[in-house]
Amino acid sequence: MAETPRDAVIIGGNRIPFARAHGAYAKSSNQDMLTSALNGLVARYGLQGEQLGAVAGGAVLKHSKNFNLVRESALGTPLDPKTPAYDVQMACATGTEAIGSLANKIKLGQIDSAIGGGVDSISDAPIVVSDQLRGILMEATRAKTAGQRLKALAKIRPAHLAPQAPGTGEPRTGLSMGEHMAVTANKWGITREEQDELAVASHRNLAAAYESGFFNDLISPFKGLSADNNMRADSSVDKLAKLSPVFGKDLGESATMTAANSTPLTDGASAVLLGSEEWADAHDLPKLANFVDYEQGAVDFVDGAEGLLMAPTYAAARMLKRNNLTFEDFEYFEIHEAFASTVLAQMKAWESEDFCRDVLGLDKPLGSIDRSKLNVNGSSLAAGHPFAATGGRIVATLAKLLYGKPGKRGFISVCAAGGQGITAIIEGR
């Protein structure tokens, strides 16, 4: 990549433990959780009263009353209220996009400091009234006379009163993300065994990272939780082999995706502190790593030309080319485990000579990724995946891994609904 005017430095991160849906955080709102994650970050880095360049983030499932979710959350912290804050939305890549674009602003000199992150709650999902009922209520609102209003309201039928929860299906295909992934996994011949192995590795790596104290300065407790409660340190391939498939069941014997090798629905929030080198030094803050570059990708998934969660494979090819890097130049790989098969399908695609030549237009395959460098401190299968909070979890984890390893690089891949995704490069300091 062309020389940028200055580095965007990752200073640190904070998240609340991720909780399985309808559990520990059942009564917490997105704003509660994001405020808590921000408060932890502010406390850790002494940002009380500080006016930052910007706070950006978002939530995938958001109440309409939370139109200014991030600003409202930031106002609930000791940050200077003159700190601008805004919402970003790119499905599961929301957090990564927020952090990436803030890093760009820092590089350009537009701002000197920023917090990027995200939050999501399944337990407090925005339930809305049906389209029919909303139409009638709006008609009644527009009515000029009591008679007109009554006439509109008289159209309400019992069936209109059923509340509607946000679906997990892709709007244009009606297929859930898991069903989409099942088609892709089948196409790439991803086996049940390799998915279960990846899931077990995720739990073991996360548990080991907790054990070693890695997360001590990355997590602050919330509502009685001090660690991700989806984690199963004693997970084993034998145990996982007993589970029945939950996605792609119409594939019969070829169905491979279970509740254990798919990410559970989770509540949680995360935040990452970024700054210019000068700003970090002036505030006597650590400089863990540089946020070097990031790339968005999108694929044509609607009629199945490409798998829903395969966009990062394309983004990676462009990003690596622009930076004149190969996979061999990376010390760590953080590939978001939406499903175990998502990680495996992306890696198979990068290994495939045909795919890399014919689809990505590369001279040779991007190559294989050494498993000992992959998600070394666990990923979403173990930690959980509160959609918009995942980017912040990954960036903070990877930056800390690279701290003290100047010039060593980390690779990030995050897939997202709507056939989109982001890849990013981080470099240790």
């Binding site: 244009r172 295909t173 009606g174 297929l175 119409d250 009629d303």
Partner: protein
Amino acid sequence: MNEPIRIPLPKLSRLYQKAGLDAVRSKLASAGRLTAFPEQSVVADHPGISDDQAEQYRRLLGGEAFDKAHRLSLPSVLLHIAGFPVQMALMSRDAFPLPLMGMVHLSNEVLHSQPVGAGTPLQILARADHFAPHRRGTQADVIIEIYPAGMDIATAGPADCLYSSTSRYLGMGTYLFPKEEGSSSPREDFTPPPKTALWTLGSDAGRQYAAVSGDYNPIHLSGVTAKALGQKRAIVHGMYLAARMLEGREPESAGHRWDITFEAPVGLPGKVAFAAEQVDEKTQQFVGWDPRKGRRHFSGKLALP
């Protein structure tokens, strides 16, 4: 062809009442033999599909708004809906030899030559053709041709036709030809391809499409009304499936051809697994099936100009 008979745009509710009566008194002249194929066509003026109806259709099927700047051309199935009452009027004429009740929609083939926007007045012509034996009765093609209002149809050429559709129907149990013995063809094996979509149809899918199309055939409305007509449960309109198959794929400038062949009906509520496959640059093929039983509901094709 004889000069078409000009009729006022029919009301579907009246035609369904008449169909009920026809079901009671046999349409056949005597001994179930066809005396003459009807050569008569009918034509009706249509004031144009209203903005309201186009919006209702869009709310049901999805897609971008008909803003008349970037999206003006109405979907093919909406033109079929406009032509359907005329088609029904032809089929409920005494000269039409098959009873309307018990008629099964087998397939549909469409050439959508020109874009038609909401509010454009039209002439809709319906005629019947290709009566042929079928192992379960008699099949017939009912053809709809849509022309601009005011055009002299007698001198109109194929280039003047905005839209033409051939609906193949089966008059179940009405044998106008000698019954063919042992002609039942073995069912073709079907292996579902990887699905690209899943349609979840509620128990009200038939009522919703009826509200947009005006096709209140009781077989689509509820379990009770469907049972009265011999179905186990309500089934969705075949053209609703065609509409979903085509949604988002029809070109704004028209000129496309498409077809759909119906197999097992879709019971309500139900799920339809769907796969779209690119055959070549201009052609897509589609198939819909029951994700549990693996039975095929329909297959179709879309060819861009």
